[in-house]
Symmetry: C2
Subunit: 265 residues, 2 copies
């Protein structure tokens, strides 16, 4: 099922619907006002290095929570969250190779797995929209366009790679305002990492994103680039751990945290 | 005399030197750490409209202080400031026509004159430089390049006009950082009003600024534009009051206010 509910449900109600198998679609627009997170689950043997990778690269990998080894619950993020069942769809990788995209990972859970929840641009997009800024991909009901760049992440142990960025076309005045607004949200990627010429960061064709969907850029707009939560997935793909579990793009964990409470000011 | 002192003097010591006629040059770099201001002095008959103009256009016209009619002192800005003698060089306009550029206006002071002190980009430039951002015009010891734009100011009574902006070329990452830093200083023009393509705001040749001096823009840089304190001078020129007195460009009032205390956060 990929249909969205008509009326907004609470985060917990959405999770229970997902847990029950009644919803396995993308989560954009669900439980408006509440924080959604990118998921990475790794064996403890890799978890410390990945934690260091996130700490060293806070713009693409802002950590909202780290679970205890073997513990599928994340009490800091919401009531009774069970990471084994509360994400609509997962991706399971073994030695860097995609194995399956199940809607539940209870059967593969192990007592050495550590869950990482990483901030997601949905939170700052809500703040931009509330400020009157029109986001084209939202307007066109597309996934945001994402691109690999030549911006290196700081490596940590076996984790390394270049940054992936999301791009939103904005008029200059809106780009300036967007810098102000997103700077208040360091836990969900914060301020842009680049704006203007894409070639400066190694992007050579905005019409062919590496992830998500392209959107048109008008003559009086510039592309504005934010660090993206796909970056840690690339670093995990490079590290090729024996087991790694992530969410499927757009199929996020819905938490009980309030978006506006992520604002630092 | 236009030579600068070797060692930094206090704001008051600089003002006393200026008052005594021992210095009549540009004030950039003097009394580092202290706020400098643009000056406009108008008859009371025009002052209320100009005050409304500043209120309606806070980015180009951020008011640091407004004097009492006929009172040349500005106790809110510093010890014993006498606006008739403490600015290195003035410009006197009658009916919109430049009459003279004296170093003292005591002889033309009247009991209906109202002084306006308007924030100046020197304050935020100091914050940018302290953050490690290189400003080309400072590096090249030039006046910042300023341009007339097609951005309309909100008119108030007889005061109207388009915005004048200052331009600093920056790499994208520094431009983003500069938005963050200058957003903290709304009393000295605040965040940029535009960045990227100059034609969007009616600037057709960056090599020929309307005020100040051009600087080169490197291939990986973009022009970043801030509202400029020359804007109120243009509005005054449009209003053509029987008497108007301003500072000569770059020859600012040095106050006792501390730059970093202008930061709103």
């Amino acid at each position: 099922m990929t249909t969205h509910s008509e009326a907004a449900l609470s985060p917990r109600a959405e999770r229970l619907r997902i847990r029950a198998g009644a919803f396995a679609g993308q989560t954009a627009g669900l439980a408006p006002g509440f924080v959604q997170g990118n998921i990475a689950i790794l064996p403890a043997d890799y978890a410390t290095e990945f934690l260091r990778f996130c700490q060293a690269n806070p713009k693409p990998c802002p950590l909202l929570a780290v679970g205890e080894p073997g513990d599928p619950f994340l009490p800091g993020l919401g009531e009774e969250i069970d990471i084994r069942s509360d994400v609509p769809r997962y991706r399971i990788f073994r030695n860097g190779v995609l194995e399956s995209e199940p809607a539940d990972i209870t059967s593969v859970w192990r007592d050495d797995l550590v869950t990482f929840v990483i901030g997601c641009s949905f939170s700052f997009e809500e703040a931009l929209i509330a400020d009157g800024i029109v986001l084209r991909h939202v307007q066109m009901k597309r996934n945001v366009a994402m691109y690999r760049t030549n911006l290196p992440c700081r490596p940590a142990g076996r984790f390394s790679g270049t940054m992936v960025v999301s791009m939103r076309p904005l008029k200059a005045a809106d780009a300036i305002r967007a810098v102000q607004i997103t700077s208040r949200f360091p836990n969900v990627h914060g301020a842009p990492v680049h704006l203007g010429r894409p070639d400066v960061i190694g992007i050579h064709d905005l019409a062919t994103p590496d992830f998500g969907e392209a959107v048109p850029i008008e003559a009086d707009e510039m592309p504005v680039f934010w660090a993206c939560g796909v970056t840690p997935q690339v670093a995990i793909a490079n590290a090729k751990p024996p087991l790694a579990i992530t969410h499927l793009g757009g199929h996020m964990l819905i938490t009980d945290l309030i978006n506006s409470r992520l604002a630092m000011l």
